[in-house]
């Protein structure tokens, strides 16, 4: 028998996977944009590619469009993976497995805040600033900081996932197989159920 592997709900894997593609894409193209136009804190020998700014904007826009859906999932169905009412108490059990899992939950929660900060500061910028050589905007500095925060957070997120569940947990979020009860064919029924539960008995 194959060693057992943690199972992640299909909806989580889809939303989390798309989100990861958009965010990691935005991080890479964001660096290239900085490299093409700015470079005050150092450069890599990347080709100067002016269009990279709008490619970065596209990744950022997709991340912003997906964020409410991913956040809705994480704060509701996925709430067990985020901070809990007893998070502070659990933090005193230093070194125990629950301590590590609590740190992992804190990291997941901070991921959502860091991503919000990144897409928000990006949306406050004008695409004209960099081509016009205007680097002295507060939102541009905040957006650069958000980029560094995002890299830091992803590193910690990967380290925490590796610490609490090892390679098998890391791979579980990338797995493509799903259980029959998790099949997308059942989703429209779930949504109908949820709507009828939700609006049952609400006064007209």
């Amino acid at each position: 028998m194959a060693p057992s592997r943690p199972y992640q709900p299909l909806l989580l894997r889809l939303l989390h996977g798309l989100n990861s593609i958009f965010v990691i894409g935005a991080i890479i193209t964001g660096f290239w944009t900085y490299d093409t136009y700015d470079g005050r804190w150092g450069r890599l020998p990347l080709p100067q590619f002016k269009e990279i700014e709008s490619i970065h904007g596209t990744f950022g826009l997709y991340a912003l469009l997906l964020l409410p859906i991913f956040a809705l999932y994480a704060f509701r169905r996925g709430q067990r993976r985020l901070i809990q009412p007893d998070t502070l108490a659990k933090l005193t059990q230093v070194g125990k497995p629950i301590w590590w899992y609590t740190l992992h939950r804190i990291t997941n929660t901070v991921m959502l805040l860091a991503l919000t900060f990144a897409v928000f500061s990006g949306k406050m910028m004008s695409e004209k600033w960099l081509p016009q050589g205007e680097f002295d905007h507060t939102w541009y500095y905040l957006h650069l900081i958000a980029w560094a925060v995002m890299i830091l957070c992803i590193s910690v997120h990967l380290l925490m996932s590796a610490r609490v569940g090892g390679v098998s947990l890391l791979l579980s979020i990338l797995d493509l197989k799903f259980r029959p009860q998790d099949s997308p064919a059942l989703w429209s029924g779930h949504i109908r159920n949820w709507l009828s539960q939700r609006f049952k008995g609400t006064p007209k």
Binding site: L64, L67, P68, A71, F75, Q79, L82, I83, Q84, P85, D86, T87, T109, L112, L113, T116, F117, V119, F120, K123, M124
Partner: protein
């Protein structure tokens, strides 16, 4: 489930930011943009544009 107050506050921050990210760029700027010759059809815009247009035509 016990009330998860901290998480609720974070959720509100995330969703308010997402909404604000769409709305804030649509708000009119406090200072009027330098005249680029574009037609603004609102009443105050028209009042401001008529002398500009007259000047450009002369």
């Amino acid at each position: 489930m016990k009330q998860n107050l901290a998480l609720t506050i974070i959720e509100i921050i995330v969703f308010i930011s997402i909404i604000a990210a769409w709305i804030i760029p649509l708000l009119p700027k406090l200072e009027p943009e330098p005249n680029t010759g574009s037609l603004i059809l609102s009443a105050p815009g028209a009042v401001w544009l008529i002398p500009v247009a007259a000047k450009q035509n002369s």
